[in-house]
Point group: C5
Amino acid sequence: MLLKKNIPFRYVFGKIKYEIALVVLYTLVIVLIHDRFNLKATINIPLTVPMIMGTVISLLLAFRSNQAYDRWWEARTVWGAIVNDSRSFTREVLTFINSAEFPEEAERLRERMIRRQMAWCYSLGQQLRGLSATEGLERLIPKREVAYVARFANVPMALLELHAKDLQIALQRDWINAYQQVQIDSTLNKFSDSMGKCERIKNTVFPSTYSLYIHFALNFFIMLLPFGVIEFFGWGAVPLVGAIAASFLLIEKMAIHLQDPFDNKPTDTPMTTIARTIERDLRQMLNDNYVPETPPVYSYYVM
Amino acid sequence: MLLKKNIPFRYVFGKIKYEIALVVLYTLVIVLIHDRFNLKATINIPLTVPMIMGTVISLLLAFRSNQAYDRWWEARTVWGAIVNDSRSFTREVLTFINSAEFPEEAERLRERMIRRQMAWCYSLGQQLRGLSATEGLERLIPKREVAYVARFANVPMALLELHAKDLQIALQRDWINAYQQVQIDSTLNKFSDSMGKCERIKNTVFPSTYSLYIHFALNFFIMLLPFGVIEFFGWGAVPLVGAIAASFLLIEKMAIHLQDPFDNKPTDTPMTTIARTIERDLRQMLNDNYVPETPPVYSYYVM
Amino acid sequence: MLLKKNIPFRYVFGKIKYEIALVVLYTLVIVLIHDRFNLKATINIPLTVPMIMGTVISLLLAFRSNQAYDRWWEARTVWGAIVNDSRSFTREVLTFINSAEFPEEAERLRERMIRRQMAWCYSLGQQLRGLSATEGLERLIPKREVAYVARFANVPMALLELHAKDLQIALQRDWINAYQQVQIDSTLNKFSDSMGKCERIKNTVFPSTYSLYIHFALNFFIMLLPFGVIEFFGWGAVPLVGAIAASFLLIEKMAIHLQDPFDNKPTDTPMTTIARTIERDLRQMLNDNYVPETPPVYSYYVM
Amino acid sequence: MLLKKNIPFRYVFGKIKYEIALVVLYTLVIVLIHDRFNLKATINIPLTVPMIMGTVISLLLAFRSNQAYDRWWEARTVWGAIVNDSRSFTREVLTFINSAEFPEEAERLRERMIRRQMAWCYSLGQQLRGLSATEGLERLIPKREVAYVARFANVPMALLELHAKDLQIALQRDWINAYQQVQIDSTLNKFSDSMGKCERIKNTVFPSTYSLYIHFALNFFIMLLPFGVIEFFGWGAVPLVGAIAASFLLIEKMAIHLQDPFDNKPTDTPMTTIARTIERDLRQMLNDNYVPETPPVYSYYVM
Amino acid sequence: MLLKKNIPFRYVFGKIKYEIALVVLYTLVIVLIHDRFNLKATINIPLTVPMIMGTVISLLLAFRSNQAYDRWWEARTVWGAIVNDSRSFTREVLTFINSAEFPEEAERLRERMIRRQMAWCYSLGQQLRGLSATEGLERLIPKREVAYVARFANVPMALLELHAKDLQIALQRDWINAYQQVQIDSTLNKFSDSMGKCERIKNTVFPSTYSLYIHFALNFFIMLLPFGVIEFFGWGAVPLVGAIAASFLLIEKMAIHLQDPFDNKPTDTPMTTIARTIERDLRQMLNDNYVPETPPVYSYYVM
């Protein structure tokens, strides 16, 4: 996630530098031809023509920004739900699972489940970013479990299955009652839903036809622009067209970056930071004040 | 679903080639008449007139794109929910259904239900695409069940009924407790909801009056265009009108393609691919590492 | 619901024929006066004035189309939910209600409840359309029940009460356990919600002030138009103004028709067709392959 | 709620009569000055300047109309939910609460709760309109209860507490089972949610900065208008500016009226009418065919 | 939250005074140069150019206003849900927790939980505003509990854990049944969700790239404006450009203020006021008519 401060100029404009260079070159060529061969009457266009195109393109860019923002915000909302559900899960595990007979075993079960929940958050984040979903899990769960989940294509799903097996054990030993088991199982369903929602956002390409079309229409609009302004500005058309083109191209680029919130980019959902907050909170509920390592810090974004 | 890469030019523009040919022809005729009979004063229109039309049409196209996108995204979301619920269903079946007395029978019941869930996903996808809903199910469920469901108009609904009957059996034999049965039954309700949502999107035509009207207004706008630009461009009006018409027609076509996500087209929801992922995940939870056959691969889309 | 095909031209344009006639007459009068008295300088308006009005009216029409579409789509979604919940209800009734002692009585109860659910769907549809809510129910439920519900102002609500009484009986006779009863009762609550949502859409008028205002502003805009184009087109202004007016008036009419989806019009939610599908599915689950009568078929819509 | 018919002209335009008078006066003064001192060259503005303002104001008014409509529709939806939940509550009370031993006492409890639910609806409506929340409750609940709830700042909340106490009594006497009590208690939570949603809409002012700003920008736009059209129309500018100003001012006023749906105005949510419908339905379920008094009838709206 | 009345002029325009001063200065310089060197032909721009920019910027500002409003409204909705759930929680605690044997101890437990709920609301509000989350809690909960929660990074989360522990105690002593415990625990989950939603809104920066870009494009648009109007107005361009710039800059500023509803500003969600209302209502349910201290009153907003 980009922070509020310190976003470098080059980050924003770096994304469109080649496009802008091309637009400037193109406008230069047209001005040159116009100037040399005195073609005023022939290649001049009334500004109303690019304006009609400008209206429909503005609406399409607004449409696209909206959908991109919705994807980004849904991704953030899903990770917010993961935070909430992880805390509720921990609270339920801590207060529901009890054993008068084997208090220490129950204690171990509770701790195992809560640490596994921390692992689940990291694992999901890494899987969504296309990294190894088991890396670093040994820090939180037993090696035996790491080995078990490693053989699954979908590691977080396997971790949820281990949760469910532990719950069944607790029920069979009477450390939890039947309603409480179903209640915690409902929380597992919520994790499953959150995971699936992230995968859906990750795997569903924004309709490529729209992307392509908006791109074509935008380029056509920019190609018309110099003909519309050349009469008034002469050489001044070059910076003017450049600036207007930059305005429109930037909106398109931003929508493109925002629409894929799990792609290991600065505009990503800050999954590592969120997972770390979850770990800190869950550890405190376990009376463990170990603060997890700070993830690498960048000057203008967090991951 | 269209992929990000390799979308052929002909796929995008192929959809409007006849319309564009007509527009070019029409503009040519007008330029010809204009040129021959020197009708400048009579058939020239101030560009503001098509511009007023252009504004309202742009807004209607934005409205239509929005609704089409919403249908498409809802379809995708429903199939995402099917993924999540299939995993939760499997996790619950695996951990809830147990029998100390008849462990092998319970094992068989669990496997039967999970394999039937895989079948449900394929069956729903085929039914939505208008193909045979029972084709290929023998691979996953017993012939007896295939025969039973085949007599239903709605095969996936019949499969859910078989799920429910198995659950009732498990409850009667005490392999599951009463809360757990209701909990899994709630998941069956979610499958029923997802199926119904897909049917609703499939069976509900986007309001035809809007489709028709937008189509008429768009054609009227395109027919006005040549009169507006002919004064400035002469023969140059032909490519200009062609390009502007293409821009507007493409948005309309894309909305039309996006709004029906279950029609066996490249822009479809990739139901076969999703069903295959579900099969892979569910098999792994059953300790079965068989990877289902890859569906046919296309260069720029998946089904 | 309008189908995709065969929508007659007269259906679409029939709705605005009087308005268009008036607009054409009005424009004719203005052109005549203009022509006769040579008032060019006096009654000519720069096109930018209607354009400012055109922008705000376009936005208001987009706003109105959006809200009308949302009402229409919500109505359709509610009836989709009725389909899903009817199937879930039937599945639960069939698998939950059992009696080892009185299997035949339980069988009769199950069938009675499921047939009553079919009746509920038809009854709700007829009540929403302002027709008799008890007509034709004898086909599905006992005369005694028809007589009972007939004295209620809200017949479908009374049918749900009969469902609930049967459930209580099943619980008292131990044909169903306590969790299952609450689970089916939750489904009854969903029917109650769906019914109430339909009534809300039916009974809530789209804010009349907006309707009125949009109507006034649109008429004002159309009255300005001839003054804006008369200078350029002379007698040609008549078809031009007619066509532009038709474009705007049609959007308004369509929103008006779409916003009331339970008014016994071709743009309605196809409740009869949906109820018929539910009857077919529920009967098949009862092993009854009777296919309900096809409702009257129209060439371009279903009811 | 405004009805579809009979909305008097004065209701719609009465709201902006002072504003319009001012605009007309202002335009008159400008035309006068312009005419007298022949200031054509100095105070004439190209129409494009008000048009740029017109675009941004149109979008802001569309934004505001949208939010106002959403508040109004949410208010209506909440009251729709109150209808549905009141019916579900009544159905559950009638079928869940039973006593073989004390059938008459149970009967009295059922009736008391259902009548209290009617009272709750009236009470909430009156509280939201800023009227006495206990007025007229004696008609439906015992005096003792009226006295009890009267000491609460939030009367409907106190009525829900009484519901909950009765449920606890029913549970303790075994007239209801534990799952049923929790199920009805969930319905009470829904009433609590609905009540809170109404309070939120009532108490949350639409962001005043937006209101203010839109108001300022709109006035600035109207003040620019005469300068833009004076050149073309002379004295004709007065009615033209007046009509355009009326168009924009009306949209603003309508949004303002719609955004506060609990303010004892004709555009209100028709809470009294809804509460009356609930009373009629609930009484019929109690076998009581008393039809509650019709609330005062107005010619073009219901309260 | 800003109130409807008394918003001082300086509050609204104070936010853009430096920007406006700069715009005025800039326009002055351009008019001066234009006037001195008679550069009319060179630096004059057709107004259509800023108009194309104006359209896209208007749409982006509408997009941004929408998202900012949605964040603000979601924040308010979450706090509305906290009100509703606090009341439901209290009702459930009061009616569910009972002990025939130890009525006084149960009474104490009920009061302790309800007072802790009041504390939770204040604590969450302070934490979101970046203030001390434990300040003033001694007024409502025992010192022992204050000390316990103070060691947590997330104090409200710790308070919920204490709630859950009390519930478990009530279950173990049989003062509550198993379904009731799960029901209240579900309410705790809702508190956890509400808390997490607030944190999400607080911690998620509105996409900085959009903020930056809209800011750049807006400034570019304002810099173009004087060149467009200078020809018509001369020195009159200064107030005109100033007023148009103010219109656009104000919309941007308002969106910026609205989008962060937990930042200790007058546009905040009025969390202190809401928490106070909750305290009053919950105390009344405890038969305690103590009215909490009024928070500091401001002339045009509440906190």
